[in-house]
């Protein structure tokens, strides 16, 4: 961990201005990922702006009939909220499938979106990693890649986005509300929030420097049965090999997003449309152009089978 300075902001705009105006600054909320990465010197911020006093800790109804979840709402609170449980079951299920109770008590909605990849080479500063050190190369390509991306990857990076919550948000078409250092606000569709690695894998998402997430917005409730099925090597406290977030209507139509397969939650419109034809058809469209490694090629049949399992439950 490099020495750093630390301040606490009173408002979101003040926090954004503080980070935008300080080279090497970062926000800190729950710190469940950032602090680990700082200890390993994967992240080396020179200044931290703590946002815990900025009041972004409420869940409110939004004007369009949806919900607005403040960026500081903890994962535990969001998952347990009766409105979330009733109307957005996929989100509750995704959140409780992730991490552990202790971590979810501390982790926040905004921070969860920003968690960084768990690629083991990213975590080992002795190893080349374009995401950690641009231009140094990718040790994962040709290395231990069992948990890494099968689609949307590049010759520079095959990392996966590790989270569960964002996969549910993707299937719900959530929005990410932000404020920038100059006070301007915008809402970024979750589909556009995370980037593919391309030749700049060190940039995970489209946030501008100093841009602070203030809330996640959920649209009006989406009819259908909500599913989040996460497949992993142990029964709890493990990252997904593959996960499936889905909302399926009684007529077999619906929407689906996949986790654990790409640098971002993976959703393909054509695959949604093919859901009534079954898992094979939908998975074929969702994973067209996949480029798995030898070690992680199993994720393609696994994704199809997991989706098939979800569709069978939807019928049953």
């Amino acid at each position: 961990m490099k020495p750093f300075t630390y301040t606490r902001a009173k408002t979101p705009a003040e926090a954004a201005a503080a980070v935008a105006g300080t080279p090497g600054a970062k926000f800190i909320a729950g710190g469940t990922n950032l602090l680990d990465l700082m200890k390993l010197q994967v992240e080396t911020p020179t200044h931290l702006v703590d946002i815990q006093d900025t009041g972004l800790d409420r869940i409110e109804k939004s004007a369009d009939g949806g919900l607005r979840i403040g960026a500081l709402v903890t994962n535990t609170t969001a998952a347990a909220d009766p409105r979330v449980r009733r109307d957005y079951g996929v989100l509750t299920r995704a959140i409780v499938a992730g991490a552990s109770g202790q971590l979810r008590n501390k982790a926040t909605t905004g921070g969860n979106l920003l968690q960084r990849t768990r690629c083991p080479y990213f975590y080992d500063p002795n190893q080349p990693c374009n995401k950690r050190k641009p231009g140094s190369g990718c040790a994962a390509i040709g290395g231990y890649s069992r948990g890494l991306a099968v689609i949307g990857s590049s010759d520079a990076c095959i990392a996966t986005y590790p989270g569960d919550m964002a996969v549910a948000l993707r299937v719900l078409d959530a929005g990410v509300e932000t404020v920038r250092g100059d006070g301007t606000k915008r809402t970024i569709p979750i589909a556009d929030f995370h980037r593919l690695p391309g030749d700049k894998p060190h940039i995970d998402n489209v946030l501008a420097p100093g841009e602070l997430i203030t809330a996640v917005t959920l649209p009006k409730p989406i009819a259908g049965r909500h599913f989040y099925q996460k497949v992993r090597d142990r029964a709890s406290y493990a990252f997904a090999l593959v996960s499936v977030a889905a909302v399926i209507r009684p007529d077999g139509t619906g929407r689906v997003a996949f986790g654990g397969v790409a640098h971002k939650p993976w959703r393909v419109e054509g695959a949604d449309a093919a859901l009534p034809q079954g898992a094979k058809a939908a998975a074929q469209l969702a994973f067209a152009g996949a480029r798995p490694t030898e070690e992680n090629a199993f994720k393609l049949p696994l994704a199809e089978r997991t989706l098939a399992s979800v569709l069978a439950q939807a019928k049953g």
Binding site: K39, R118, P120, D124, V231, R234, A238, L302, S309
Partner: protein, 738 residues
């Protein structure tokens, strides 16, 4: 005390304290966070500085140059020690690779430097400022490229051993002639101990004497190897390790935390506190080596084995030893024609060494699946197959009997309790919703080792007794069983006994390893108590062999308060147990039958356990509660080995990639179902005056195979490569109906 004839009746047989389920006397300290572990001993010496180790960034090569200038200028830095300024260092007898690299680097994360600073954060930051210029050389990292490695004998140092090649009868002819046979090859991966408490030490010098407050299983070995490594006399070294937060063999030996803390303390002129960071542990310390094992079994139609061969390949650094995966195959089943062999490849990966039940843990994961495969070929129940091949004598030396062996009773009791008769012998037939459900069985086997062990027992003026020995409690319950032993011997209640452990100034014990700790250290306390009883009897004038019970001593027609004996001052006795050749005359082993019910998700291939049962035959059980804890913990470790644990080798760069607890997965609570443990509890008079045997590793031995066999019964998927993660069998699941 020499133990060279079977034990007769003795005070332990009274079982007023011994043999009773007893909560651990150190339990309240543990659960309230007040048992001081090595890194927390803030009070033992003032002005502790912090040490942080920089590990090698390459697997093999040379250090050309180390530039510490920037790090030395960093805030709070007191000293930096590398091979350039450490002085001449030796190597511990128990270490394969030296603990400080330079100029050669032997493995990834081998210590290159220690930074000592005023605070931990300063030391950690400064360690990253050290610039090391390496010259990489080509290393050997792929075990499978060395299938023809030379034959090498070896001992795990933990009780399992075998010569390079060992033959009884004529295996090849018998195997060729056998009407039913299996010839199968299995692989097991490298595994990390991943004990909760990392390796940690506080080191302080007083003149030329060194004190180490550390976390170590084997105090006398540690004292010797610290002296050897630093080139100082052993009597100048004192280790103290009263609490150990798990070891599993990873703390049998002195590791870099102790040596680098000592070097750092010398350089800084201050006591130094140092713990290995979790991400460094898998590559800096030892691990259980990967194996490839070929098992050939030939049997008659009656299931009786006529030919048994078990050949194992493993790898280690130059000068290292093999994983002794074949050793149980020499003893577990009858059969006239036998072959075992071990090959050892030279690998430039981190040091392979003992991890809980070395040898048997991976060995039974092969042998006991092969037995299941044979049972299927024979059309025979796998429990019955094991029963018909039972032997009461060493199969290689028929004149040599087992001291005791109740494997058949383990199997029958287990089958009965588990509802084995409800198992459908045809795989893939039982469905519970999305789950394919099956049952599996495997035998467990682990030797019982006799090691000399000494203790000192003092009857205090207040009538309490103090036991002192350098024995360790690695979470096993040592404190409690030694207190039980002393209480039984002296006729005192358990809470009148104080047990002090882990100090190298105390009498030398067997230490904790190879499941030998409990029986031997308790026998050492027994010996000291026998001597103490003699001194008490003499002082009270009560004749030769009075009875000690209820705080009284009774003999020669008189009954006297024990307290009367110490009116004139405390009485101290020191003695130890030493063994004759009862472990040569008799084969001393422990046995188990493991039963597992597993579910395989028909859609995703995920394997989840539903029930586990172990029936254990391990002599007298000194404390059924502590023993049960040991066995269920071991069963959990076996579940990890079967289902998820593996160190992933990067064969290009030569290191274990998944080197933290996020990526090296061990079972969590949700992975472990109801576990039942049954002890047969037959005292074994050949093992020690306690008539107990080892049990701490038995629970691990065979459980992985029982899981694999349950998965086969559930889904028809035969597991031959561990861990059995779903990617290995996804293509063998039933096709789904879309």
């Amino acid at each position: 005390m020499k133990f060279d004839t079977p034990a007769g009746t003795n005070p332990i047989d009274n079982k007023t304290v011994v043999g009773r389920p007893t909560s651990r006397i150190d339990g309240p300290l543990k659960v309230s966070g007040t048992a001081p572990y090595a890194y927390e001993r803030h009070d033992v010496v003032p002005h502790q500085a912090y040490g942080v180790i920089l590990g090698a960034a390459i697997a093999k090569g040379r250090i050309n140059r180390i530039d510490s200038a920037e790090a030395l200028r960093a805030p709070g830095v007191l000293a930096i020690v590398t091979h350039e300024n450490a002085g001449k260092l030796g190597k511990g007898k128990m270490n394969t690779a030296k603990l400080l690299a330079g100029p050669e680097v032997d493995h990834y994360h081998q210590a290159v430097a220690v930074v000592v600073a005023e605070t931990f954060e300063q030391a950690r930051d400064a360690a990253t400022m050290i610039r090391v210029d390496y010259a990489r050389t080509k290393g050997r990292f792929d075990l499978m490229e060395q299938k023809d490695a030379p034959l090498v004998g070896g001992s795990s140092g933990e009780g399992s051993g075998a010569p390079p090649i060992d033959r009884t009868g004529k295996f090849e002819e018998a195997f060729a002639a056998a009407p039913v046979k299996v010839d199968v090859t299995y692989t097991t991966p490298d595994e990390s101990h991943m004990m909760m408490e990392p390796h940690a030490t506080i080191a302080a010098w007083e003149g030329d004497s060194l004190r180490l407050w550390t976390s170590n299983q084997m105090i006398a070995w540690g004292k010797g190897d610290v002296a050897r490594t630093l080139g100082i006399p052993a009597d100048k070294v004192r280790l103290d390790s009263p609490y150990v937060g798990g070891g599993f063999g990873g703390k049998l030996f002195v590791r870099a935390d102790a040596i680098m803390a000592a070097l750092g303390a010398k350089a800084a002129g201050r006591p130094v506190k140092l713990a290995l960071a979790r991400p460094m542990i898998p590559n800096n310390t030892t691990h259980r080596p990967a194996t490839m094992q070929r098992v050939r079994l030939g049997a008659g139609q009656d299931g009786k084995l006529t030919a048994i061969a078990h050949e194992s390949l493993s790898g280690d650094l130059p000068g290292g030893g093999p994983e002794t995966a074949v050793s149980q195959t020499k003893l577990l089943y009858a059969g006239a024609n036998r072959l075992t062999s071990m090959r050892l490849a030279v690998l430039d990966l981190p040091e392979g060494n003992a991890m809980r039940a070395p040898g048997e843990a991976p060995g039974l994961m092969a042998l006991e699946v092969a037995m299941d495969e044979l049972a299927e070929k024979l059309g025979m129940d796998p429990v019955e197959l094991r029963i018909v091949n039972d032997t009461q004598v060493d199969p290689e030396k028929s004149g040599r009997a087992f001291s005791q062996r109740h494997l058949i009773e383990c199997l029958r009791t287990g089958a009965d309790r588990f509802g084995w008769n409800r198992r459908n012998s045809k795989p893939g037939q039982v469905r519970d919703g999305r789950w394919l459900v099956g049952m599996g069985v495997a035998a467990g086997f682990r030797n019982n080792l006799l090691m000399k062990s000494a203790a000192r027992v003092r009857l205090e003026r207040d009538g309490r007794a103090t036991v002192e020995t350098d024995m360790t409690d690695i979470g096993t319950g040592t404190y409690t069983i030694l207190a039980q032993t002393a209480a039984e011997m002296l006729g005192l209640p358990l809470d009148a006994i104080t047990v002090r452990l882990g100090d190298s100034d105390f009498p030398v014990s067997a230490g904790s390893g190879g499941q030998w700790g409990g029986n031997n250290s308790a026998a050492g306390v027994y010996a000291a108590c026998v001597k103490l009883r003699g001194l008490v009897a003499a002082r009270l004038g009560l004749g030769d062999n009075p009875e000690f019970a209820g705080g009284k001593v009774t003999g020669g027609g008189r009954s006297v308060q024990l307290l009367d004996a110490v009116k004139a001052g405390p009485i101290t006795a020191e003695d130890g147990i030493e063994y004759g050749d009862l472990d040569k005359t008799y084969q001393q082993s422990t046995f188990a039958a493991h039963f597992v019910e597993a579910g395989v998700d028909a859609w995703t291939g995920e394997v989840r356990l539903r029930r586990m049962l172990a029936v254990c035959d391990a002599g007298r059980i000194l404390n059924p509660k502590a023993a049960r804890s040991q066995v269920i913990g071991a069963m959990t470790m076996g579940a990890g080995a079967a289902l998820m644990e593996h160190l992933a080798v990067d064969k290009r760069f030569g290191f274990f990639v998944n080197h933290d607890l996020a990526e090296y997965e061990v079972p969590v609570h949700a992975d472990i179902p109801h576990q039942e443990v049954v002890f047969l509890d037959y005292p074994d008079d050949k093992s020690s005056p306690l008539k107990a045997k080892g049990v701490g590793e038995l629970g691990l031995c065979g459980v992985g195979a029982a899981i694999a066999n349950a998965v086969y019964n559930a889904a028809g998927i035969r597991v031959r490569d561990y861990p059995m993660t779903l990617d290995l069998h996804l293509d063998r699941l039933p096709t789904y109906r879309a």
